[in-house]
Symmetry: C2
Subunit: 338 residues, 2 copies
């Protein structure tokens, strides 16, 4: 392995000079610099980033704390899309990504800041964390720069990339209202997701503006899982046959809802309209194709990395990035006819 010493020896200078030459300092004779560069090319030299990190106290790595890298979560590849976006941005910089393989077991034995300090990450991006997750509290207390995805918290060291979930949900429900639906149910995720809280808010708001009373028994939790949503919607429709439309807080749950509706012998969209949330890949491929509130998940990842790097370089004016959502109308919604 070629080290800086080898270069110094081969070029007949000191390691100090090599370091300075290679890092672009001005106080190096151009002749010397050229020589050093030539030698290090020849010897295929590449600095040891770990050693550099040790002395500089930064590592040019971004830590990734994602829950949902499990087999089950392959369905909505939200996690993967975020990852792709982050990867794309970091490919444009000299940061590398380190994936903390943390399952629930490890979480208990290693604290967040331990994880980060061990690997000396410069900053962290967190995705898929629940509001009751112990890590979340640690993040806020820690001084390691961090960007949260879809959790609207900001501080000196914490930034956030998200969308306006209240608005998104509201517009999704408005779409159903504009089609003449009045009896609109909702399948939400769970209480420990910020987005669920916000989307419920948007649902209520849309109804309220039309003076339609909110009925708590028409809102069920599907835990963002297809099977759970299917089960819940099946019961929901049994108890409330007057429902003509359902707003689902995720596409995966919408797919579960569709299954339940089909099982009950109802047709989509003729008898029941469905709106999802996310616009995952499956949304376009299932039958009927899903009307949904699209989020640009890839971009969320990209912007999260961008924001974090800005924060690391003290160039961030704002610690919040709000992305747009967009209603995509496909085949699962239609006008209500009594």
């Amino acid at each position: 392995m070629t080290t800086i010493k080898d270069i110094a020896k081969a070029a007949g200078v000191s390691v100090t000079t090599v370091s300075r030459a290679l890092n672009g300092y001005s106080d190096v004779n151009e002749k010397t610099r050229e020589k050093i560069i030539a030698v290090s090319k020849e010897l295929n030299y590449s600095p040891n980033i770990l050693a550099r990190g040790l002395v500089m106290n930064k590592s040019k790595t971004i830590g990734l704390l994602v829950s949902g890298m499990t087999r089950q979560s392959l369905k909505d590849n939200l996690t993967f899309e975020v990852l792709c976006g982050i990867n794309q941005f970091s490919a444009e910089t000299d940061y590398d990504l380190i994936l903390f393989s943390t399952d629930s077991t490890k979480q208990r034995e290693k604290t967040y800041s331990q994880l980060c300090r061990e690997r000396q990450v410069d900053g962290v991006i967190i995705q898929g964390i629940r509001t009751d997750d112990p890590y979340l509290q640690e993040v806020l207390e820690s001084d390691i720069p961090c960007v949260l995805i879809d959790i609207p918290i900001e501080s000196e060291t914490v930034g956030c990339v998200t969308t306006d979930n209240v608005l998104g949900a509201k517009e999704a429900v408005n779409h159903l209202l504009s089609l003449g639906h009045q009896n609109i149910a909702m399948v939400n995720g769970h209480d420990f997701a910020f987005v669920s809280q916000k989307r419920l808010e948007g649902y209520k708001l849309a109804l309220q503006e039309k003076n339609i009373p909110y009925r708590a028994e028409w809102v069920v939790n599907g835990a963002f899982r297809e099977e759970q949503a299917e089960y819940e919607v099946y019961g929901l429709l049994e108890r409330n046959p007057e429902i003509t439309a359902i707003f689902c807080a995720s596409d995966v749950m919408a797919i579960g809802a569709i299954k339940a509706i089909k099982t009950r012998g109802l047709s989509i969209p003729e008898q029941i309209s469905i709106v999802g949330y996310d616009d995952i890949l499956l949304a376009t491929y299932i039958t009927p194709a899903l009307t949904t509130m699209a989020q640009d998940i890839y971009k969320m990842g990209y912007e999260a990395a961008k924001l974090l790097v800005k924060m690391l370089e003290n160039k961030a004016e704002s610690h919040q990035k709000l992305l747009e959502t967009q209603l995509i109308i496909r085949e699962s919604t239609t006008r209500y006819n009594s």
Copy 2:
């Protein structure tokens, strides 16, 4: 940040003793060890892995070189499944994963071994690399332990996880043959994928065993892309209306093929039967549901990580792991009737 020095001072011993105590060496007085452990718990100490790596010359990290972390490749989340598998295994160990964000630009400016040495990775897993990729040659020349996914190369330092692609393809085609099909076309990936070469072999073999002549003009390349496959199949069917079944070397291409067939006004499976390869998530959700040769991609990732770690610990008896494939019969294939 708590360092080993802080612990030493607080515990009233030398750093050496702290190091030994924490690393479980036997030549430490149990009283001293307890004291040290207590202190380091109290101070929330966690060793700096980078510093340790510098002196031990290993970093407890596995490098991941994946191509296909791009926006386009979200469709088949093969890359993601592999990643999940790797992540799962590494979560069971104390290895962390480092993702090399390498796009084609970076590839040219940094060599494989530079990438690895910079970050001092102990070993590498490579996925999605082409046979004509310059990195592949470097991998073989380098002495860094490496596991390749779906590229059957072995050496002192190189291992491989794959399936029997010849057999898989052969069985897929046999399925069509057993349904009475004779005019079976194939949509392959591209010439620079090992799996494509092997699957073509399997296709030929199956035909040969039934004494059906191989017709090169019935094999098209879809580059593993949906649109490309759609385009190619459209032309293929135009030129050869006698084709009654198509074997596709990937599900994504099978989906493209299905689109082309529908566009031509033909029905699946009544007029054309389709067999895919991979069993991606979409395969079950599209209409008609896709008959396909299933690979356990997740397991490939898991086994790749397992093999690599074994190699790193010199416990690997074999450098090759062969996984099973399995034909999943769904709705896209049926008996040929003239």
